[in-house]
């Protein structure tokens, strides 16, 4: 149960692009063809290993509907990573990416790692957005890109893990202030905050909860 780091993620994107299914596939390794509309935000978690370190991912799956937009905005600030998802079979979900990205950039901390996900890659016959377009958009906006299928699980692991790798690298480079929990990163209970180096800490607000049994 113990972990070296804890990362907070959010999943954003238009309604019906498969955000909840991506999360379910990642946390439970199953696919649910009929999924209820997400109301507000739902939570999921899983442990992964990067660089032989245990990393806990806490993922908040947001509602894509416009009506919940003001609620979901509250989650940008505290997240270290975001999966921005569109549906390759629905062009309009791709067209809305700019709005989503603006929203995310405006409300999140500047270091948040954003991964662009073109979901439903199993439905290639109904494809409306070419892979190259997704790649181009990602390149233009400095995002990591991947096409996934929550149904077949293709690239789902990779999407979450690669995002974590990116964050992990940023920590190693000292880009993230890991003592500020508002960045969406927490150090594991048994790991002293001084070990990753380069942290002129601002006084441990959150890191001071040692002890306890985990």
């Amino acid at each position: 149960m113990s972990y070296a780091y804890l990362f907070k993620y959010i999943i954003i994107g238009d309604t019906g692009v498969g955000k909840s299914c991506l999360l379910l596939q990642f946390t439970d390794k199953r696919f649910q063809p009929v999924h209820d509309l997400t109301i507000g935000v739902e939570f999921g978690a899983r442990m992964i290993t990067i660089d032989s370190k245990q990393i806990k991912l806490q993922i908040w799956d947001t509602a894509g509907q416009e009506a919940f937009r003001s609620i979901t905005r509250s989650y940008y600030r505290g997240a270290a990573g975001a999966l921005l998802v569109y549906d390759i079979t629905r062009r309009e979900t791709f067209n809305h990416l700019t709005t989503w990205l603006e929203d995310a950039r405006q409300h999140s901390n500047s270091n948040m790692v954003i991964m662009l996900i073109g979901n439903k890659s199993d439905l290639d016959s109904r494809r409306e957005v070419r892979r190259e377009e997704g790649e181009a958009f990602a390149r233009e906006h400095g995002l990591v890109f991947m096409e996934t299928s929550a149904k077949t699980a293709a690239n789902v692991e990779e999407a979450f893990i690669n995002t974590a790798k990116e964050i992990y690298e940023k920590i190693q480079e000292g880009v993230f202030d890991i003592n500020n929990e508002a960045n969406g990163i927490k150090i594991g209970p048994q790991h002293s905050p001084t070990s990753p180096g380069g942290l002129a800490g601002t006084g441990g607000q959150g890191s001071a909860q040692g002890g306890g049994c985990c």
Partner: protein, 839 residues
């Protein structure tokens, strides 16, 4: 300024008769000054004075000054002092409480604070302004802003929740204040958050997302855990708000390993007897109450089973269950804390085999050591214990037996005759003792507890039939069921009877053997029918329940009757119902319970909900049994009844035909089943085949895809430069080259083919053309021929003409007789030559 000062004096002076008039006037002037004065100092003074008036002349200040104050918040936001004053003033006028010094006391019921709140939030950005002031670190601004928000929230909680929810970073700004080093702000924001999170799942989730649990545990730790003051309680109340009924947050709590952080809070140091024992302070009692509520929120029976099971596992693993059991067995724990702890243990073990086993293994520190469960049951059947405590023990025992076949078996086992008479007290003995005690509450508790050992467990129902009780010395032992029926008939306490009926209904349901035993007991059915047919006391709740349960028991005796007791076969019991009770009365009675509020209340939650002993009449699991059986029993009884009638009225219809009809029907259905089975088999086979095919196709597709990729890569490499080719991708390239070669050869072949075709085509064309030419030449020749023919004809005509002329001339010559022969010969020559040359 002079005037203002004098009026202020008069207000603060001692002339109560004039104050009201003067007060309103002064407020008007102050508001005017606040709005129109260009100097900040003046405005600040006016604001300060308004604040001073805002308690006594709250209505006036609110009614006249609201806009001016709002204006200050907008315009003067750089000046902390005036902002603080304005916020304080707004705080006073929106205060949900009444001030003692308030002049306008008559309107206390009008909720002045709420009305002003309504006015204040009419401007859409008012709350946003106040939220923005929270970011100001200055105490003079932050604190009143916080207080104002608290008042607004208290007055119009739903509205404010929605506004804060949609204002950017609204919740986050509040959460930041939890880390404020000034305790008063931290504590006030805790109170605010408790109000804010009430009944709003979205806010609860955002608050949790903003690391609320970490913050809360930090504060709890700083404040001294369970021994801490009211701030700890506030923290726990907030935690409870975040968790109760919010599955997402519960999941987050579990995944964030926060359950583990609860354990140390429950590890209450063992009270050392000689150390001055001050017992539990009221605050500590409150704190522990909140703590167990937090635990119960995570394992509530109403929550999704999967989530509950995961939390229960963690609670055992991290020692929380152990800590709770320690409190159970500790001395000096106040009764209400003990009660709630028992309820909590109940829900932590409910339906979880390992946790149930854990509780079974807990030993009480008594001499001799006894299992904790035995000690608990001793309290349940002890009438000196508080009622709520006894209820909680029943709940705990029910949860212990819930889906616990091992526990059920063990309990029944303790009642069965065993070789060695165990001297130790057992659960079964305790329950039997309770069943036959003179305390009707103990009877009810024991009967219900025993009934839970039989839930969904037919073998224990049958085992329990074997239980014998030794009554008086010298008399033969009686079975437990006989004893129950006897108690049912003898007693005059309804609560005891209800308990026994609950037990008997559970016992006989789904168990024909138990039905048989029950029917075989003398006067058992007679008693039930007698009770049901009595008309008295129809309005009395207990009487209704009693009749209802009797009806259910008779119904069970019909539905699960295997006709093995000749005097009470299915048919005979039905006849009895019809003749002695009447169908309508029976149906009415069986549905009687469901009409009562106590039924729906009991059905809602497995925990006994009674507030006092006399209310304890129904059991949750019994209500569920009734709910599931009511329909089938009525149907079964009606069917049996109809069958009887049919048999009476249609006696002449020979049974044989009916039977043969049924046989035919069965045969038909058999055939149908076979057909469907075959179809099913066929379809499954087909499905398997298809699946295999799909897999093959998939692998083929992936294979092709791989090849495609390889080829693409190779292509790209070729593009990059020929030098690289040789080194790495030789094999691929060769392959590729070969394919290209074959392709080229193929194409060449095709080209040759096409050329050939073309040539043929050209030849054809030439032939055709020459043909056409010939035809046209032919035509020309034909024309010529025709022309010549015509010429010939013309010449022939001419010839004949000349011939005739010649003959004419010849004749003339003959007539004349001059040199005929020479002329004749030359003329003959001419005619011979002419046709030959024309051909």
């Amino acid at each position: 300024m002079e005037y203002f000062k004098s009026s202020l004096k008069s207000v603060l002076g001692t002339t109560p008769a004039d104050t009201q008039q003067t007060g309103a006037d002064t407020v008007e002037r102050l508001v005017d000054r606040l709005q129109s004065s260009s100097l900040l100092d003046d405005r600040r003074d006016a604001c300060r004075a308004l604040k001073a008036f805002s308690r006594t002349y709250r209505v006036e200040v609110g009614a006249q000054g609201m806009d001016a104050l709002r204006q200050v918040l907008e315009m003067d936001r750089t000046d902390c002092e005036i902002i603080g004053l304005a916020l304080d003033t707004l705080c006073n006028i929106t205060n949900p409480e009444m001030f003692d010094e308030e002049v306008d006391k008559h309107s206390s019921k009008n909720k002045i604070g709420e009305q002003f709140t309504e006015i204040f939030i009419k401007h859409s950005d008012s709350v946003g302004l106040v939220l923005a002031f929270l970011e100001d670190f200055d105490f003079r601004v932050r604190w009143p802003a916080l207080k104002l928000l608290t008042h607004l929230l208290a007055n119009r909680s739903k509205d404010i929740q929605e506004i804060i929810l949609v204002s950017p970073m609204g919740v986050s700004k509040l959460m930041d204040l939890l880390s404020d080093s000034r305790e008063v702000i931290r504590n006030d924001v805790l109170l605010l958050l408790i109000q804010l999170t009430k009944g709003n799942a979205n806010i609860q989730k955002i608050v949790a997302f903003e690391n609320a649990f970490d913050r809360i545990f930090d504060v709890i730790e700083q404040e001294g855990n369970a021994d801490g003051g009211i701030v700890v309680e506030d923290c726990l109340l907030l935690m409870l708000n975040l968790l109760r009924g919010n599955v997402s947050n519960q999941n987050f709590f579990k995944e964030g390993s926060y359950i583990q952080k609860l354990t140390p809070m429950f590890q209450i140091p063992n009270e050392i007897e000689d150390n001055n024992f001050d017992g539990w302070s009221p605050q500590k009692v409150s704190n522990v109450h909140c703590m167990v509520q937090v635990v119960r929120a995570l394992v509530a029976p109403s929550a999704p089973a999967q989530a509950v099971a995961a939390c229960q596992r963690t609670m055992r693993a991290c020692g929380l269950l152990q800590a709770l059991c320690d409190i159970l067995m500790a001395s000096g724990v106040p009764a209400d804390v003990l009660t709630e702890t028992i309820n909590t243990v109940a829900e932590v073990i409910r339906g979880n085999a390992s946790n149930q086993e854990f509780l079974a293994g807990v030993m009480a520190p008594s001499t001799p050591p006894r299992p904790a469960i035995v000690v608990l049951l001793m309290s349940m059947v002890n009438e000196k214990q508080p009622f709520v405590l006894r209820c909680s023990v029943l709940y705990c025992f029910q949860c212990f037996l819930y889906k616990n076949e091992v526990g059920q078996t063990q309990l029944v086992q303790t009642l069965l005759p065993q070789g060695n008479e165990a001297p130790s007290l057992t659960t079964g003995q305790l329950l039997c003792g309770g069943l036959f005690s003179i305390d009707s509450l103990s009877n009810w508790f024991s009967a219900v507890a025993l009934s839970h050992a039989l839930i969904e467990n037919i073998s224990q129902k049958e085992q329990l039939l074997r239980v014998l009780l030794a009554t008086n010395i010298g008399k033969p032992p009686v079975t437990l069921m006989q004893q129950c029926v006897m108690l049912l008939q003898q007693g005059n306490k309804t609560q005891c009877k209800l308990g026994l009926l609950i037990l008997l209904c559970r016992w006989t349901s789904y168990c024909p053997l138990a039905v048989k035993s029950f029917l075989a007991i003398d006067s058992s059915v007679a008693y039930l029918t007698a009770l049901l047919s009595s008309q008295e006391n129809n309005d009395d709740l207990q009487e209704t329940l009693l009749q209802s349960m009797c009806a259910l028991l008779i119904g069970i005796c019909v539905h699960f009757n295997d006709d093995s007791v000749p005097t009470y076969t299915k048919e005979k019991v039905c006849n009895l119902i019809e003749n002695r009770i009447g169908w309508e009365k029976f149906q009415d009675a069986i549905g009687g319970i469901a009409r009562h509020e106590i039924y729906s209340r009991t059905l809602k939650h497995p925990q006994p909900s009674a507030k006092n002993p006399s209310e304890l009449l129904l059991d949750h699991e019994f209500c569920r049994l009734l709910k599931s059986l009511e329909g089938v029993i009525i149907k079964s009884v009606i069917d049996a009844n109809n069958e009887n009638r049919n048999q009476l009225s249609v006696m002449n219809l020979p049974d044989n035909t009916l039977i043969s009809q049924y046989k035919d029907l069965i045969r038909e259905q058999d055939i149908q089943i076979q057909r469907l089975n075959q179809a099913n088999n066929f379809l499954t086979k087909e499905k398997q085949e298809f699946e295999v095919q799909i897999q093959e196709l998939r692998s083929a597709v992936s294979h092709l895809r791989d090849q495609n990729l390889v080829l693409r890569a190779a292509q790209a490499n070729i593009g990059d430069g020929k030098e690289k080719n040789a080194s790495s991708n030789d094999l691929d390239l060769e392959k590729e080259l070969q394919t290209y070669k074959t392709m080229v050869a193929d194409l060449e072949n095709r080209l040759a083919e096409y050329m050939h075709i073309m040539q043929q085509h050209n030849k054809d064309k030439e032939i055709k053309e020459s043909h056409l030419e010939l035809i046209s030449q032919l035509k020309l020749k034909i024309d010529e021929l025709e022309k010549l023919k015509k010429d010939q004809e013309a010449l022939l005509e001419l010839l004949t003409d000349q011939d005739s002329k010649i003959t004419l001339y010849k004749e003339r010559l003959i007539e004349l007789g001059d040199k005929i022969e020479s002329d004749e010969s030359s003329g003959e020559l001419d005619t011979d030559d002419q046709p030959e040359s024309s051909n």
